[in-house]
Amino acid sequence: MRAYFRNIYAAVSTILIGMRITFKEMFHPSVTNQYPYQYYFEKRKNVRGIHKGFRGQLYIRMEDCIGCKKCAMICPVDCIYIETSRLEKGITLSDTRAVVRLKDQTVWIGELLEGDEKIEPGTVVKLRDLDGNLHESPSEHVEHVVTSKKRRLKLDRFDIDMSLCMFCGLCTEVCSTSCLYMTQTHEFSTYDRASLLFHFADPSIYEGLTPDETETKAEDGADASEGRKQKAARRRQREETA
């Protein structure tokens, strides 16, 4: 008998406690973000944006790509298609630019004044970026440094199929020159699946290159064969010890 009334009392009291919570919540401000209007407003006024390291759509600075194909090899779904070709004899491309990435995902691109790929604790990394500004940062805040490299290959085809891409970001991490990066674009739907195959290769960046003088050509040739001999010797050594 007592359990009967205790039941009724428990029911009514817990219901009233629950009702009080929902009533209180009525007066709290809403957490709705009025997408897309509020989102575009915030973007325009720079009030609150997407975080810096966001993994959105891929983009590549073609002038810095050396055609190492590391991104194509590591992609889990094989959505990057690369075809390279050797340059004509004597033509050289510009070196790639250096990149410094900090731990809060800020990226500086330009000419590395002080610092190396091996980050020594206690030093300062200095870089002058493409607009001429000087940036520096203590090495504790630096995540990685990529020095400039020589470009030896011409990219005939660099296609990324974004309809296959799973946005894992592995390709951006293994890029030797840090030229492949993920932007903050995440709204790029199209009406046609074929238009999600992005063609990044740009033949126009190889136009207008002239061959070097013959002396430098000979020196280049000598260095190149020397380099090949050393590489073969190293491979033979590795195979013997393995």
Binding site: F23, M26, S30, T32
Partner: protein, 335 residues
């Protein structure tokens, strides 16, 4: 001639009432969406019209334009008849609700009995809908709903009986008249505060009414998570809209009856023309009750069907009987 003119008069009033009910359903759907949104830390409809006021009209137009799907194996005639039956019986209740001193569509002398009888026809409509859909889910929902509604009519009737015993008449305007003294007078008080037993009767009525309208925590027939959509799974377009509108009209009707029976109807707090008087007062009181119904929906989980039945038969009905006897004894002793 007399007959014709009175017939036309009745038709005009019926049309006005229908218009009112449609408008009501419109406002109530929007109110529910806004209230639920604010309770859940979001904003409700905002774009269609100022503060989303035209949202229901947009939804109604969308539903009108939808394809009318009737499955081949469904019982066609019953399938088409069911929503109309549900809507008409929910709507017919409004004929006997007193909105003001002279604002009642039809002041029959068995007002409250008529209301209880007509609102039972909704069960027929629901069973028809479940059966005619020829779908196991719909059938289950309809069976549950029928059991639920039929069972909860008993405590409903018992709590109404206590009011009728106090007033002595079934006529709606008489019941309101018996509360014309307002909140504080010694005689002719609002029936809610007349008697500790009628206070309890109000809550019994409220809970049974929640169940009659199929609202949480008793909304098992239309439980979205379990039976997809219960007895109106197979309905689309305007037929579904009719079920939907009928539910909101029913909600208002049930609150209006609660206000008439227990909270003084259109009489104010003090006798004469004062605060909470007349049609505005009536509407305010009904809105408060409707808000409480919505509040309960967004707070509480659902009861299972056998728990629903046990609440009715083991808790509400004994308490309602005891209540009835209490009211009778009180009247005997004190009046």
């Amino acid at each position: 001639m007399e007959l014709l003119s009175s017939l036309i008069f009745m038709l005009v009033i019926a049309a006005a009432l229908l218009g009112f009910v449609m408008l009501l359903a419109l406002i109530l759907v929007l109110a529910e969406r806004k209230v639920s949104a604010y309770m859940q830390d979001r904003v409700g409809p905002r774009r269609v019209g100022p503060f989303g006021s035209l949202q229901t009209i947009a939804d109604a137009i969308k539903l009108l334009l939808k394809e009318d799907i009737i499955s081949l194996q469904a019982d066609r005639k019953l399938f088409i008849l069911a929503p109309y039956l549900v809507f008409v019986s929910s709507f017919a209740v409004f004929a006997a609700i007193p909105f003001g001193r002279n604002l009642i569509a039809s002041d029959i002398n068995i007002g409250i009995l008529y209301i209880m009888a007509i609102s039972s026809v909704v069960v027929l409509g629901i069973i028809m809908a479940g059966w005619a859909s020829n779908s196991k889910w719909a059938l289950l929902g309809a069976m549950r709903s029928a059991a639920q509604m039929v069972s909860y009519e008993i405590p409903l009737a018992l709590s109404i009986l206590s009011v009728i015993m106090l007033v002595g008449s079934l006529r709606m305007q008489d019941i309101v008249g018996a509360q014309s003294g307002g909140l504080f007078s010694a005689q002719n008080r609002w029936i809610l505060l007349d008697n500790p037993f009628t206070f309890l009767a109000f809550f019994i009525y409220f809970i049974s009414a929640l169940s009659e309208v199929n609202r949480t925590p008793f909304d098992l027939p239309e439980a979205e998570s379990e039976l997809v959509a219960g007895f109106h799974t197979e309905y689309s377009g305007m037929r579904f809209a009719l079920f939907f509108l009928a539910e909101y009209a029913n909600m208002f009707a049930v609150s209006a009856i609660a206000v008439t029976l227990f909270l003084g109807g259109w009489s104010g707090i003090l006798p004469g023309y004062t605060f909470l008087n007349g049609v505005p007062g009536f509407v305010i009181k009904v809105s408060v009750l409707v808000f409480v119904i919505m509040w309960l929906r967004w707070t509480l989980p659902r009861l299972r069907v056998d728990q629903l039945m046990s609440v009715c038969w083991k808790y509400l009905i004994p308490i309602a009987f005891f209540n009835l006897i209490g009211v009778g004894v009180w009247i005997l002793i004190f009046d």
